[in-house]
Amino acid sequence: MNRIAIALWNPIVAKEYRSRMRTWRSPLAMTIYILLLGGVGWAIFSSTASSARNSFNGAQAANYGQVLFLWLILFQMVLLAFITPALTAGAVSSERERQTIDLLFVTKLPAFSILWGKLLASMSFVILLLLLSVPIFSLVFLFGGIELDQVLIAFLVTAVAALTLGIIGLACSTAFKRTLPATVSAYGAAFILLAGSLLFGLLFPTDINPNATKAPAPPAVTYLSPILPLVVIGMNAPVTGYGIRNGVYNMAQGGGMACSAGPNGAQSCYVTTVPIGKGAVGQPFNPPQPIGTTIPSGLFSGWQYWQATITMQLAICLLALILSALLLPPIRHLPWRRRARVVA
């Protein structure tokens, strides 16, 4: 085997596969996963079927397809957010608790290989779960409204988000000696990634600037969450009602601007020369609207939401991996820990 193959395929992976697949837990986890995802798919499908009993046309079918896909892909993401930290948060700390880690450290495996092996084994299981969900997602194509590229991109976003959660779990497992605090912090990080970043968009939305030439976009932090790109992909529509301040915009001169979202998601605003609430109504104007599903302005202007999400998450993965590789070895050669050693 060449060097790359040796680096990618190390004994830890084979051992982890063997151990994982010999227990009853893995088939059980897969069965529960499929049952839950299938259950949600079945529930959406049956509610759609009952509402479509009286009249059903192509446009409605496409709409049902989109709704089914959106529910499934979001539910799958939430399921993986529960499963992935559990797979990796104990990867290193359980070796410590079982007193097997020293036996690995004294072998010729470098610390990075140990981490990589643990990660690859856990992520393979996640990929297996994703593959198992493909037949359920194929239900969507009964209705239409979703293209194959949307499904593929949504799966890519889900896989990268799971990878990020997995690597964060691995970093927690490396940083904490015990599995319990590692698991708690991994789930905390998963919550921050999925929901916390979205909450940030609600608490600190982008203000609509009446002088801007580009449409406003939610703050860049919100792209960390895979939920936002999955919704954009599923709906195949730009983000308009989230992460953008939709109410009163006070200007320095004492005037103001009031905006509201129309039924189609488009913004319409009024600019006044006196403060809002004094009864004066100024000239109506329409701020620029986002075109297509790209991010209209900001740091990732012109990017697709999923591209921004994947880029940011991969950057987090890289940082977490580097941190883990620095923390794992029993004798750490950290630059800031170098000190004059006394040779007796």
Binding site: P11, R18, S19, Q99, D102, L103, P110, V342, A344
Partner: protein, 307 residues
Amino acid sequence: MIAVEGLTKLYGGRTALDHVSFEVPKGEIFGFVGPNGAGKTTTLRILAALLEPTAGRALVDGADVTEHPDLVHERLGYMPDFFGVYDQLTAGEYLDFYAACYRQPKARRKKIADDLLELVGLTDRRDQAVDTLSRGLKQRLCLARALVHDPAVLLLDEPASGLDPRARVEMREILKELQTMGKTIIISSHILPELTELCTMIGIIDQGRMRATGPVQEVIRQLTTGRRLRITVLGHKEEAAAVLKPLPAVHEVVTVNGAIEAHYDGDDAAAAGILQALTAAGIKVSGFSQLEGGLEDAFMKATSEDI
């Protein structure tokens, strides 16, 4: 083969090792003895490049444990005092896994596992799950694991702890075989008689300080002053003790297991004088023998006072 110079390890404010130095030449078996918490495991973990010393240095076959842990791992096999095993793996798979971790070629791994299982007497357990093996068998398997890359040096931390007498004897036999294979072995143990029989060198450590180190008999000689006579008599022991106590060479007389033990200074002529004094006093001596100073005496002496 192993050189330790001024090794010091501080845990917070506590000194676990205080300028420990010793050397182990190639092919020697070095017994590392000391009470619990003396610093044996800390020393062995530093030698295995699993712990960074606060000061001093340790070399394994010329490789510094702090600077080149990869070279150290290549050259030594380490068996910790407490270790776990993986679930869902058989003994054969367990050894194959570690052989792969030591980058042994796949084609050779089966033979390595077979040979090592035979060495430690586990051939018939090849397909048994490792987590179902008894403690003694796990110890043997762990020893086999430490040998998968055929290291020149073996660090064995309490390999006989928790084993029943039979398993201890079997472990000792395996270590003797490794000795004949030319391995340099450092073995920490509480079981002193076994070390006397097995080791060519010993180091006695207490409270993080090396109290004595060198060839076994030399250390025993250094630490055990005075000689002992074991005397059995017919009749009353008190009469014999009354004769012995006034003698100038004798400085202590005690009764051990029904026999008299007389601690005295001097050579064989002094011992002959003691026997003569007993018979002259009409004591019927039925047994009279010199007692050899042992590792246990040396250990007790080394760990009970500052040298």
